[in-house]
Symmetry: C2
Subunit: 314 residues, 2 copies
């Protein structure tokens, strides 16, 4: 079974949702109205053996990722976090000390991002740790940026450097230690109109494919322009693939990909607070039967919307 088949089935029910649901399933966050307020909500899971490995990863780092993974969704809407609730299924032999450490570390990380933990649920079982975090956010003066607003001609940008996020180099392992781009998204939203945005969790090829599909467009990316992380270059030395392929296909970058009308593209700075912001491609009309995302590399045009991954480990 493929994850996206089931999700497509879910999304087909969206038209039946009440008007109070202002952002239906299929975006980085959903939203419901309370009076004049949009309450943005996202939920993400961290499973031991899938998204993290407790045998080799410290509890505090697992706790951090459980929180920041959701906050990356908040960044993708250009929203601000309000609070979070946590559901945790703990192995029965997890132990009191480690449970406290996990709880304390999640609260500390959430607090750093002004996202207080204000509720939760705890279950014990004989299976691996599974943490499910639900984050609430608010627009706070910036209209939430969805995936479906890209227009033909938009320039495609990405933040940071991409690829190889599972590789640890000099004590830094991006998929665990990344910083959700909340401040950066707010800064961008103040400078230009963000037509569409997504956070990169499944790989740029696949995630830009979501923007393209929801905007009923296609995208073309230039391999030479992709900002390569040190880890992407490292990964390329290991498997002999070109590094751009890691930047396009590897998951869990937790950077932002967004599109801006071409006449505003000059106003996007090349970096914000030391984080690179790079134009990597363009949106254009989708031709029937063509790939949603194409990468230009070595003078070839290669379909790239299925290079991404579905899960971190097999």
């Amino acid at each position: 079974m493929r994850e996206f088949d089931l999700l497509a089935h879910v999304f087909r029910q969206n038209p039946a949702l009440p008007a109070r649901v202002t952002i239906p399933p299929g975006d980085d966050m959903g939203a419901v109205r309370y009076g004049e307020h949009d309450v943005l909500v996202t939920v993400d899971q961290i499973a031991d053996g899938v998204h993290v490995d407790l045998r080799s990863t410290a509890i505090a780092r697992v706790a951090r990722k459980a929180i920041t993974r959701n906050l990356s969704d908040v960044a993708a809407m250009a929203a601000l976090p309000v609070g979070a609730v946590v559901a945790c299924a703990l192995p029965r032999d997890f132990g009191q000390a480690r449970a406290r450490e996990l709880s304390d570390a999640m609260r500390r990380v959430a607090g750093e991002f002004n996202c207080p933990l204000f509720g939760g649920d705890l279950t014990f079982w004989d299976h691996p740790l599974l943490i499910s975090v639900t984050v609430l956010a608010e627009p706070a003066g910036v209209t939430p940026v969805t995936r479906g607003g890209a227009r033909p001609g938009d320039v495609v940008f990405v933040t940071g450097q991409l690829g190889g996020s599972i590789h640890e180099l000099d004590g830094y392992c991006h998929h665990l230690d990344f910083t959700p781009r909340i401040d950066l998204a707010r800064r961008l939203a103040a400078l230009v109109t963000l037509n569409s945005m997504i956070d990169l969790s499944d790989g740029l090829g696949r995630d830009l494919g979501h923007i393209a599909a929801m905007s009923n467009l296609a995208a073309e990316v230039d391999a030479d322009r992709l900002p390569l992380s040190r880890a992407a270059r490292h990964a390329a030395t290991l498997d002999g693939q070109p590094a751009w392929r890691h930047a396009l296909a590897d998951g869990e970058d937790y950077e932002l990909c967004f599109t801006v009308a071409v006449d505003q593209a000059d106003r996007v700075p090349s970096q914000i607070d030391g984080v690179a912001v790079t134009a990597v491609g363009r949106m254009h009309a989708c031709e029937p039967g063509a790939a949603r995302v194409v990468v230009r590399a070595d003078e070839r045009r290669i379909p790239a919307d299925d290079l991404g991954w579905e899960h971190h480990t097999s």
Copy 2:
């Protein structure tokens, strides 16, 4: 490790929460403010082998419980549901057809209670099904009823009949098939001032203990007055315990326990829409070292706040 030790540790951090958190961890739902709106939130998990057993329980029934369990928390605040997001860890061999059935059934049940599903997360792994549901609710004109508002002299009421919820009789199994008491709670709130309320998930003894502890009081319950379910009587025939003990100690009743000032107690009807509402005891000052909850049975007074359970199966 005991669940409540870790929770007590979490609750000790409540004073550090920002003012925007209007109901901190420790109640049936937490709440954060959006302008003048209280956004109530609860999260609960359904794990295969802990809260349900997929070997013997139809998918639709599992889906139902995943939703109604949270809605019982909404009822306990006398609130109305607004929407829900669902995180699901599916066994890799679960199969497309069953996954759709699960998803469709959750959406159908949530829709019945005006609680549209508007977001989610999906993970596949090699372990049992775990569903985590987060429900958002709103006060809609009724101040949320917390656990900590009971006063000395309050009369303690319960809805429905209690005990034996795991036993299936004539095709009805209460812990799977119960109706969350959302309408009933709203009707009660319109008739009297509900000083405190909780939904019964851990057993009346333990849950009334939560009301007592958070209100800094004690409670006394009369065994003869406890409304016994048919399943409680059935359970008593199986293990030779008195049926009132099942009504007091068995978990997953998903009924409401609430307290009302004695001068308003007459205004509580003996049934609402065919659901019994029964006075079962009183709140009083807590004496140092005494049990939070005592049951009067057979002319004895028995400590009852530790008769409940922590988990459905061992």
